[in-house]
Amino acid sequence: MAIKLGVSLYSLQEDYYLGKLDLEGCIERVSNEVGADGIEFLPDQMPLPGWPELSKEAVDLWFSWMEKYNTVPTSYGAVFFDTMYKNRMLTVKEVVDLTIEDLKRAARLGFKVYRTGIIRKEHLEILERCLPVAEELGIQIATEIHAPRGIHTWWTQEWLEVIQRTGTKAGGFVPDMGIFSVSLPVPFVKRLLREGANEAIIARIEEAYRAKEPLSEEDVRGMGGNEKDLQALSSINRLVYDDPEWLREVLPYTKHIHGKFYEMTEDYQESSIDYANAIRVLLDAGWDGYISSEYEGQRHYFDIGCDTYMDPVEQCRRHHVMIKNLIAKLSGR
């Protein structure tokens, strides 16, 4: 199939944070237990030895893992360091220089997609200035389309304008499936309920969100909502539900997708995100690329401790089953 499946090691972050897994361990579990070959990682989260210097030894180590676990590098999760110093923002030239160094590291590690994110207007100029180097390196600079900004916002549209104006082959996007959110993340709602939110009020907040008639603070207070209900409201205001059809506008420049999800049930459902329509568009467009599972639910279980964590590996496995099921069903197989 044209849609390939991978995992962002971001999904396994809590186990790494607490010292239960190292970088190799994460790759091993993705390969052996999720059964996927596409590896996305954030070097600043799970650095190779000596990072941010990248020695030949570190490169060899990386590829030895890729070979050992039968995996391939997909997308490299980069960050901007504009805020390096307290007394000033870095200049455009300084960020360009750092980004070019980073692009080279990504290319040396075999990545074809350099996922970054436009935050400030300056980033458009910065990334445009990096495009020639990216072309030379054969890597795509892809800005993530991520809530609270969607496809029809300047973050996406102005980068699209740069791609089309320059005619570059090295510019693109990583749409994050979170832009098709139909409700608050399930584990977040569970936590709010543990903390005292009202189930009925949250249900009405979510209905109003789906009806595109969002409630106001006054509305929620009028229903007798407490601070936790208001937290649900302010969170839902930062969610995005883009029409999945809009994906077609960016798919020609998209090689990689973030399969954001918050909680997979035992029967392979993720009720917070409209995967069905997104996958339908991808299939219809004949899109080719990796979807990286990006699990982001564990943090909502911190209050009740490590032992009741959802297992991120099992979560990613279920996520892949869901996508495969959708593909099978939608393509009539």
Binding site: F80, F81, G305
Partner: protein, 130 residues
């Protein structure tokens, strides 16, 4: 972020030098989902038993043995606080902490570009000191 796991289970210990208690220390994980150069630590406030520790008394110890004041950290771009690293934080205080139970509070913020309002995290814990 990660508030529950910021202060590490290693607890609170006195620092003894030449037989004298010269301060105390604890271990801290980063309140973020990645590592950062140390210069991106925007503030690190420490409170013990309800009393704020003077900024000048705080030392950040890197995993490779360098020791920096918070004021020095502002230009330290070449050493990182890695994700999941337990950074040793030392507080210089003649006599150290008295034996018994103490309440430690930390408020730590990083400068992250997509968090324009700053990323400040608060955590507290109580530990017995020998």
């Amino acid at each position: 972020m990660n508030e529950k796991y910021l202060i590490c289970e290693e607890g609170l210990r006195n620092v003894v030098q030449d037989g004298k208690k010269v301060g105390w220390e604890f271990w801290l994980r980063i309140p973020y989902y990645a590592g950062v150069p140390l210069s991106m630590i925007d503030h690190l406030k420490v409170t013990i038993d309800g009393e704020a520790v003077p900024e000048e008394a705080i030392r950040f110890n890197t995993s490779c043995g360098e020791v920096f004041t918070l004021q020095e950290l502002e230009t330290v771009t070449t050493y990182r606080w890695e994700y999941g690293e337990k950074a040793r934080i030392t507080v210089l205080q003649d006599g150290g902490l008295a034996p018994g139970r103490h309440k430690l509070e930390v408020d730590v913020a990083l400068r992250i570009i997509y968090m324009p309002k700053g990323n400040s995290s608060y955590a507290w814990a109580e530990f017995d000191v020998e």
